[in-house]
């Protein structure tokens, strides 16, 4: 479990994180959502030990603070930017980072081979990164985070700018990692990704955690009404309702329905509910 307890972090006069507390449970995928400047990256950087909170604590249960290099061995990180050496091959990148994490000899070779196979890049292992496609680079970015077999994985927008095929492949990888027992923090702007992958999500804005729960619970609590669009002989009717099935059955008794559609509230509705519609920088 990763615990964030009342953490604060300021950069000059800007408060990036303002007294946030939450925990990421073992073997869950925790989604961190928020508009640009919400404080997600600051949280991620504190989770991997790059930043020290001004106050409060970040700890991996049983290990301690990620500021300790020995604790960081337990964490893998796939940054949002493609953090790879363009002039090295896929395999050389993995070997380099594997050695940095203390892997040697047969263990290193085994983990490099596993990582390449896991993300489907075994056949391109000798290609320089500069010659790989955007999707392949994203998958390699994930593979580098996994090469030392971490218990905790921090994925910062791991599907940014990739094609649907690579995105699906990355989803499959993440779901497999969860099944294998990995604890994952996942930040994204794509709400459908969070809905599909995350067990729980936290919605942040202006350095504060505004909501945190399972996706369905959040939608139920904060998503508002469903929208029912009904096609009748005399035209189309739109109804906002908490209980669309009940309302449709009631309408069917009163009038002849030619058809209907139900639009359920989504995580996006919840997100906009908390963060508003104002454009961010």
């Amino acid at each position: 479990m990763i615990t964030f307890e009342n953490i604060r972090k300021s950069f000059g006069k800007t408060i990036a994180v303002d007294g946030i507390s939450f925990e990421v449970r073992p073997h869950e995928i925790f989604g961190l959502l928020g508009p640009n400047g919400a404080g997600k990256t600051t949280i991620v950087n504190m989770a991997v030990g790059l930043l020290k909170p001004d106050s409060g604590t970040v700890a991996l249960s049983g290990f301690g603070s990620p500021r300790d290099p020995k604790v960081r061995v337990k964490i893998g990180v796939a940054p949002q930017t493609l953090s790879l050496y363009d002039d090295l091959s896929a395999q050389e990148n993995l070997e380099c980072f594997g050695k940095v994490y203390g892997l040697r000899g047969a263990k290193l070779r085994e983990r490099v081979a596993w990582s390449l196979d896991f993300v489907g890049l075994s056949e391109r292992k000798n290609d320089r990164v500069s010659n790989l496609s955007g999707g392949m680079k994203r998958r390699l970015n994930l593979a580098v985070a996994l090469v030392h077999n971490p218990e905790y994985l921090i994925l910062d927008e791991p599907t940014a700018g990739v094609d649907p095929q690579s995105r699906i492949a990355i989803f499959d990888n993440i779901e497999q990692l969860k099944k294998d027992g990995c604890t994952i923090i996942y930040t994204t702007h794509y709400m459908e990704e969070a809905e599909r992958l995350c067990d729980r999500v936290g919605i942040m804005d202006c350095g504060r955690l505004l909501a945190m729960d399972a996706v369905d619970a959040l939608i139920r609590q904060h998503g508002g009404n469903s929208t029912v669009i009904i096609e009748k002989a005399d035209g189309r009717q739109t109804i906002e309702t908490r209980n669309p099935v009940e309302d449709i059955l009631k309408l069917q008794k009163e009038t002849e329905l030619r058809g209907f559609r139900v639009l359920h509230p989504s995580l996006e509705t919840v997100f906009l509910h908390f963060t508003g519609r104002t454009l961010r920088d």
Partner: protein
Amino acid sequence: MIAIWTLAMKDLRILLRDKAGFFFAFFYPVLIAVFMGVIFSGGDSGSGSQINALPVYLVDQDSTSASQKFAETLAQSEDLQIAPAGLEQAQEDIRLGRKAAYILIKKGYGDARENMFASEAPVVEIGIDPSRRAEAGLLTGLLLKYGAQDMQRIFSDRSLMRRQVQTSMRSLQESAPEEYAGLYQFLSSLDSFLADTTSSAADSAFTGFEPLRVEEKKISRQRTGPPSSFAVTFPQGMMWGIIACVTGYAVSLVSERNKGTLLRLLAAPLNSYQVLGSKALACFITTILASIILMLIGVFVFGIHVASCFKLALGLIIVAGAFAGVMMLLSVLGKTENAASGIGWAVLLVLAMIGGGMLPLFFMPDWLKALSSISPIKWGILALEGAIWRDFTFRELLRPYLVLAAFGFLSFFIGARLFRWSHQT
């Protein structure tokens, strides 16, 4: 330590695959060294400078009208740059390499010149470093030429000629009687000679006389200057190679920061000193390799003689270490690759200009020499030149070593602090 080595090897591998980086680290210094070496040597191989007017001292120990006349002839020569001096000063200055040679008009020159037919040829001594064979030959030829002209002057002047004959006759009368036969024989020959002077044979009339006897005195010059221009420009080239490496690695650290690989490394079980140390180690290894390649080319292609290989190796290690520290400081001054590159070259170019990277230190005016002490480039060049041709003792090398170590340590310390500070906030 293994992690530092791994990352340093990664940087070297990337450098080898980066054509531009490889060129600037390994070939650019060679080009600089050869180009500047050719310029400073004036196109020759650096065996010595060929000067239009040979700068020489003139010492007149005879102080007769004949010697003074000869001195005037020499002073008017376009081939010589005459400066009067005493013998001791002349010998000392030649030993120290301040002048090429001296001409000594020995005592008795005037007597010999005025008693041309009855005594030995007047003697002039030249003092010169034995290695200046070309200059010695040139000077001997010039003295014989002006000696012959002096003799011609006497023959073409009737009063001088009469005085010569009278002096000779007086001399012969004072000699043993058996030598009178020689007088008549000589006068007879002179008569024949004078009869022939109406023809063009007059030009070669003195073939049988020795107009001047030139004696050569060898004065070994104390070596205070570089043996060749390449001995100066190759240490400069090494410094340019180091500058290219320092700038390249400073930019690569900024590039790692911007690409996110630095974040990945800092999120790994390494501390920031290990990450920085790996970059400094890669910079250190590259500068050592580039310098070794450059020095091998200098020794085997351009004939540079290294006075002390051990001191050169030690100097190189200290210079490379110091500039790895400078690299650390430069890498935190720019936020983008372009800014880091611009700052790196701007700072190092100025330090190179005032530190002897372009104009050799011994060519600099005194004020610039004093100013150059603020540049680590100067101390780097001194550390290398001290081992290559200045033949410094360890005591003399200690100062450049200490200054470089202080520069390197201070730069690394400030750079590391700024780096840590920038990644904490």
